[in-house]
């Protein structure tokens, strides 16, 4: 070894390194604590019953809520999952059942690529196929954009969880004379179902917090609507509009919206964590 360092020096170096790694964990936890602290403290002050039940007040008037946007978020997320869940789960089944094939690798590549496409670009794409032709922003277009984002997440989660199911279960079903489809749908898929449901819930939480793909698909709307063909307000877009506005009362409501969004994410993550623990527990028994 060139430049022999004393054992003491090496030990100091090692301790220093351990200290730096520990420090980096603390540095990363500081913004998390700060974000959560402000969202909770500002949000709790601003959140009230009106937020969930009242419509937005005209510009300049204080009070009111985001009832229309809450319904809007539920609608576009629901629409998105309606076509993302079947496509995602079925392509996940294909990728795990025909894992070795070239087409499965291509689909896996497509899923990872789609997962990495910036959400704003998905918005531009959906604008081109679902807004321009009809000359109309719509809840449907918003749902489509969110669905496109959900598909790869669900597909990859399903694939990974199906691969965890012991091969003997599938083989047992096939040995009893079941068709491949029967083996998958009656034996393999049910065994992986709790995990897949968890994955879908996590995907929903992530998608419900998306803003960029909705800006020019669902657009925004200060009035209540449940029409699929009309522009619709959503929590995230409304928080954005309110946050960059000059009005104090709108800032207050933006924090309330942020608290609702973070609560959804926290709740889903905790639920998912609890559920995966349970599943792991079942497997180890």
């Amino acid at each position: 070894m060139t430049g022999m360092i004393s054992t003491g020096g090496r030990k100091v170096m090692s301790s220093l390194f351990v200290a730096l790694c520990t420090l980096s964990v603390l540095i990363a936890l500081v913004p998390l604590a700060f974000v959560l602290f402000f969202v909770i403290s500002e949000g709790v002050q601003a959140l009230n019953f009106d937020f969930f039940t009242k419509m937005p007040k005209p510009v300049g008037e204080t009070g009111g809520g985001m009832a229309n946007a809450i319904v809007g978020t539920l609608m576009v997320t629901g629409l998105g999952s309606m076509f993302a869940i079947p496509i995602g789960i079925m392509s996940g089944v294909y990728m795990s059942e025909y894992a070795g094939t070239r087409f499965a690798s291509l689909v896996r590549f497509a899923a990872d690529t789609l997962n990495g496409v910036p959400s704003i670009v998905i918005g531009v794409f959906v604008y081109g196929i679902a807004v321009l032709p009809f000359k109309q922003f719509s809840a449907l277009a918003g749902g489509l954009a969110l669905g496109v984002m959900m598909i790869p997440i669900i597909a990859r989660t399903t694939e990974e969880l199906l691969l965890l199911v012991p091969g003997t279960m599938r083989e047992g079903a096939l040995a009893l004379g079941a068709t491949h489809a029967r083996a998958v749908f009656s034996v393999v898929l049910p065994a992986a179902l709790p995990g897949i449901v968890t994955g879908v819930v996590l995907a929903l939480a992530r998608i419900a917090g998306e803003t960029a793909p909705l800006l020019f698909t669902a657009f925004s709307n200060r009035y209540f609507t449940t029409s699929l063909r009309q522009p619709i307000g959503t929590l995230t877009v409304m928080v954005f509009t309110y946050a960059i506005s000059p009005y104090k009362d709108w800032h207050r409501q933006a924090w309330a919206g942020a608290l609702v969004l973070v609560s959804i994410v926290l709740l889903c993550s905790l639920l998912a964590r609890f559920a995966t623990r349970k599943i792991e527990g079942l497997h180890s028994n």
């Binding site: 090496r10 030990k11 170096m13 090692s14 390194f17 351990v18 730096l20 790694c21 520990t22 420090l23 980096s24 964990v25 540095i27 990363a28 998390l32 974000v35 402000f38 969202v39 079947p86 496509i87 079925m90 392509s91 089944v93 294909y94 059942e97 689909v107 590549f109 497509a110 990872d112 789609l114 496409v117 910036p118 959400s119 704003i120 670009v121 918005g123 531009v124 794409f125 604008y127 081109g128 196929i129 598909i151 790869p152 068709t179 491949h180 489809a181 917090g209 803003t211 960029a212 800006l215 020019f216 995230t236 928080v239 946050a243 960059i244 800032h251 942020a258 969004l261 994410v265 993550s269």
Partner: protein, 320 residues
Amino acid sequence: MGRVGKKRSIDLGFRLGTGAFALVLVVIVCAIGFELTRQSMLSIEKFGFDFWRTEVWDPVAGQFGALPFIWGTLYSSLLALAIATPIALGIAVFISELCPNWLRQPLVFLTELLAAIPSIVYGLWGIFVLVPAVRAFETSMPSALRQLPMFSGPPLGVGMLAAGVILAIMVIPFTSSVAREVLKSVPAAQREGAYALGATRFEAIRAAVYFARTGIIGAVMLGFGRALGETMAVTMVIGNNPKISASLFAPQYTMAAVLANEFTEADTELYLNALIEIGLVLFVITLVVNSLSRLLIWSMARPARQDAAAVVVPAAESAA
């Protein structure tokens, strides 16, 4: 048709049925590329490559140059990477190598939470908490330092520095979780060998990190890909000014941010086409960066497995 034949055709139907759903994924990716190209034809034909060399973005005058956005995107992402990489790797090493067992799961959960918080919430926090803090930092900077081109301009708070910081916070969990996975795939023999030679903890971990270097570069690049396309939080703190500047304090603009801000305001066909072309290039850049990073991570994970197999095979042969 016999029973076996019938079963076979059912199996084929299953394969084709699920395959059709899987095909949707491939079709969507191709459709994105096709649609974005088709919708930006006007701008591509009119400006050609000059679009990416021109500094002037003046929609009113019909002048569209995308250089400021490319500059802002690269600047903010690289800045974020410079801040995030050491921290993210530190976290990955701490969780995978140093941390006591009971602490591992909670820490993983917390870093995942950092990734799960919506971009818009980071943006809101950025506007009302981070930007004032950055402004205070900028004002308190000694004037001697303020002469440097890196710190020139008025201390506005909004600008490149705030964008870099918020992007770094958002990128850390991605890089650290991939780096953790990569470190996990390093064979235990690497570390044990180092310890057996009398290495300190630092030296043993350095050996493991060196072994995993390709995958770790992949993890860093994956974070870069995320930073390039991040929209809302950046839009809300970067200041949205299409002007190239080396200063960390200057308000600037990114590709994703200009799409978010100006897309619904585009009043001419050409304006809209120019914006969609920016989207197209963002799509291509992230596609290349992500594919490359996955290739690196994947090439890292494979040889590790082959090594493990190589250890087993000679033993089996000697037994035979």
